[in-house]
């Protein structure tokens, strides 16, 4: 067989694949008739295939399906939420807007620098703002991260953020607000923004 051309073995495989041309098939047949070694080789290949094909049919163990279903990730809700979000772009836009807005408000809240509205007759001692006795402040006062002591009069609103408002015999014509909580601060900012908005249209 060592003297037989290699293409004979190639033809055998073409034959086994069912892809042999008529021409090759005739050459192969002719060769097999006169060469017993190649005939043997061909038989062995056919037997090999028959051997593998006699493998028993294997089935999956019982409860296989259940086991697979148990192993699946619990992704049902995730898909549901994604689809809901895709269907309601306005809600998503509003949520994103709100997120950014509250982020800005929170950042201005956590800014703990002392500040006070500039009014001509205020006395500032460290982080304490004093409206002296006998003085009248015309306009609003906003104190941030500091205390406010009013001994005189204020002709306007008073707002103290992150600080204390102390007054004994003071006269304040407007509203007095003391803000210490984040949520109150947010509420105040929102209100202020709404007021600005309304004023903008009034003007």
């Amino acid at each position: 067989m060592s003297t037989c051309p290699q293409y004979i073995v190639d033809y055998m495989h073409e034959y086994l694949d069912g892809e042999i041309s008529r021409e090759h098939e005739q050459q192969l047949k002719k060769h097999l008739q006169m060469c017993s070694d190649c005939r043997q080789h061909m038989h062995e290949l056919s037997d090999t295939i028959a051997f593998v094909k006699s493998a028993a049919h294997i089935t999956a163990p019982p409860h296989f399906e259940e086991e697979v279903m148990k192993r699946l990730p619990k992704g049902k809700n995730r898909v549901g939420i994604q689809r809901w979000l895709r269907r309601h772009p306005i809600v998503v836009a509003a949520a994103v807007f709100f997120l950014f807005m509250s982020a800005t408000m929170l950042s201005s809240y956590s800014n703990d620098e002392f500040s006070v509205t500039k009014q001509p007759n205020l006395i500032v001692e460290g982080q304490t703002v004093i409206v002296p006795e006998g003085e009248v402040v015309k306009g609003d006062i906003v104190v941030k991260n500091g205390d406010l002591i009013i001994e005189g009069e204020v002709d306007g609103d008073v707002v103290v953020i992150n600080g204390q408002y102390m007054a004994s015999t003071s006269v304040v014509t407007g509203q007095i607000e003391e803000i210490n909580q984040v949520f109150e601060w947010l509420w105040y900012e929102t209100k202020a923004m709404a007021n600005d908005f309304v004023n903008f249209f009034k003007d």
Binding site: D10, H13, L16, D17, H41, E44, L45, D47, T48, I49, F51, V52, K53, S54, A55, A56, H57, I58, T59, A60, P61, F64, E65, E67, V68, M69, R71, L72, P73, G75, K76, V79, G80, R83
Partner: protein, 187 residues
Amino acid sequence: MDALVNKRIKQVLKGDQNAFSDIVSLYQHKLYQICYRMLGNKQEAEDISQEAFVRAYINLHTFDQKRKFSTWLYRIATNLCIDRIRKKKPDYYLDAEVAGTDGLNMYSQIASSEQLPEETVQQMELQDRIQYEISRLSDKYRSVIVLKYIEELSLQEISEILDMPLGTVKTRIHRGREALRKQLNNL
């Protein structure tokens, strides 16, 4: 069947996880069989074929529904099997002596691991032998031989499953057949 499968796929993609159970039930035996023949071990075959279904579920959105689902699924499974085979390169050989046993080797371990009635032993021996011969093939030849002669898939399908050119599949089948022939002649 393809129409039913595609319908179930659409349901799964819409979030209906239970629709996937029909897909599992349709393909479980074929997929398990491929894994069992590739790995030669029931526990591993079960683990890998389940894993293949889980991966198919997770990546279902990437499946092109114009194509054949079984091809895609078998591809996931054969890739997992080949990975597993390569990871556990034999650290023992079947004919190596088992420590602490006098002349016993792994063949006798395998044979004695299951008790069977006499009349089925004859049949059992042939089946054991088939699996043994398949697992002696390198993973390159094993996958094509299993897909061609156990699953009886076309060369074209095998080429898609294994993601290799048709010519390569043919060469591997030819060499796989020759390797098996030699194995059988030596015994």
